[in-house]
Amino acid sequence: MRLNEDPSALEAFYRRHVDAVMRFVVRRVSDPHLAADLTADVFLAVLDSAHTYAPGRGSEVAWLYGIARNVVSGHHRKSALEARTTSLIAGRRLMDDDDLVRMEERIDAERQMRDAQKALAGLPEGERAVLELVAIDQLSVTEAAAALGIRKVTARVRLHRARRALENAASPTTAYMGAQT
């Protein structure tokens, strides 16, 4: 059974994970409208990639976070205008005032995580990706490896390196590392 063949499976999948996806997004962006757009984009990307979803083959959270990561980092590569014109569902238009307040509360609640994430900005991409998923999003190393499409042992090695780099870089270079986005 595939996610894109069964609407009820898709809806159940959405309900299981919509909270986690919104949390994932607000750990990375602090604009409530953009957070709504990206949440919508993640679920559109789920539709695009639904044929790659295999129940029972690894964690569905890992699969979903792999997609969410691509959507959020893809957004950083595009201009906001481009992102808006190419998305089929404008998440921000689905928000009323109450939703906006709730989204801002979510964003406030994750402030620390966003700060922590900024501190990782100086790490090489591969290492940062693993550490982010493990430390910020609380995935297991196995799940993080699956989300990134890398081997578990590779994830372990990268995690170890990333942690060591952060320890070594403890204070003097934090400002420099935080300067990157």
């Binding site: 609407p7 919509v18 709504a36 559109l44 990307a45 539709l47 044929h51 569902i89 689905l94 009323d96």
Partner: protein, 225 residues
């Protein structure tokens, strides 16, 4: 309770899913970018030249249950491209651009390809293998994350099988070009089993047993560059 963002979003997602199911799409249909019209027009001659082959194959697809192409971004950031039918290259280019890959794609008749030099070619390790689709239609390949760098363009010249646009192509030339890419100028494609390569009538020269990779060998390499 249908009054908050989450509920509105699931409604919108389910609607989109229903729309795709109705349209026979299982993947992103690909937005049309009007800013690309100019380039599409300049390449119209190449597309028109292949039109005979394209129309010939419509019936092979019976029911149109598959879209012409699918672009999927994998969890590791690599981009998987499946071309089921060699048409709508501009839409495929737009879709690839969305996935972060700049591409110039030309479909040509079986006996033609683009000129050798399209710009400054980048030599990279042969990590991209083009395979025939497992169902024997079209081709697929995967672009590893970072393979096409900033300022680089993936350039594909696909010589469509005279038997039709859903068959694996006669030849696929894949290059990575740094900087500007020259528009495709159709030139004769030397076919090993057919010496009369000068023909440019585009209507399918009728060499039905030409060197097409048209049998269902999975993972048969189709790259001939």
């Amino acid at each position: 309770m249908n009054t908050n963002f989450e509920e509105r979003l699931i409604s919108a997602v389910m609607e989109e899913h229903a729309r795709r199911t109705a349209a026979g799409h299982t993947a992103h249909p690909g937005p049309v970018r009007h800013s690309r019209v100019n380039r599409r027009l300049t390449r119209w001659s190449a597309v028109a030249a292949g039109a005979a082959a394209v129309t010939m194959t419509v019936t092979l697809f019976g029911g149109g249950a598959t879209s012409a192409y699918a672009v999927t971004t994998e969890p590791d950031g690599s981009v998987r491209v499946q071309i089921n039918e060699f048409r709508d290259s501009a839409e495929l280019e737009a879709e690839l651009a969305d996935a972060g890959v700049k591409a110039v794609i030309d479909y040509l008749p079986a006996n033609q390809t683009c000129q050798q030099s399209r710009g400054e070619q980048v030599a990279k390790g042969g990590q991209m293998k083009i395979s025939t689709n497992s169902d024997g239609q079209g081709i697929e390949f995967e672009i590893p994350k970072g393979q096409i760098g900033a300022g680089e363009t993936l350039v594909l010249a696909i010589s469509v099988d005279p038997e039709g646009a859903v068959k694996p192509p006669v030849a696929t030339i894949m290059k990575i070009i740094k900087g500007p890419v020259a528009p495709c100028e159709a030139t004769a494609l030397p076919l090993p089993s057919d010496k009369s390569t000068g023909s440019t009538d585009g209507g399918g020269p009728g060499q039905g047993n030409g060197p097409s990779l048209d049998y269902q060998t999975e993972d048969q390499p189709a790259q001939r560059d």
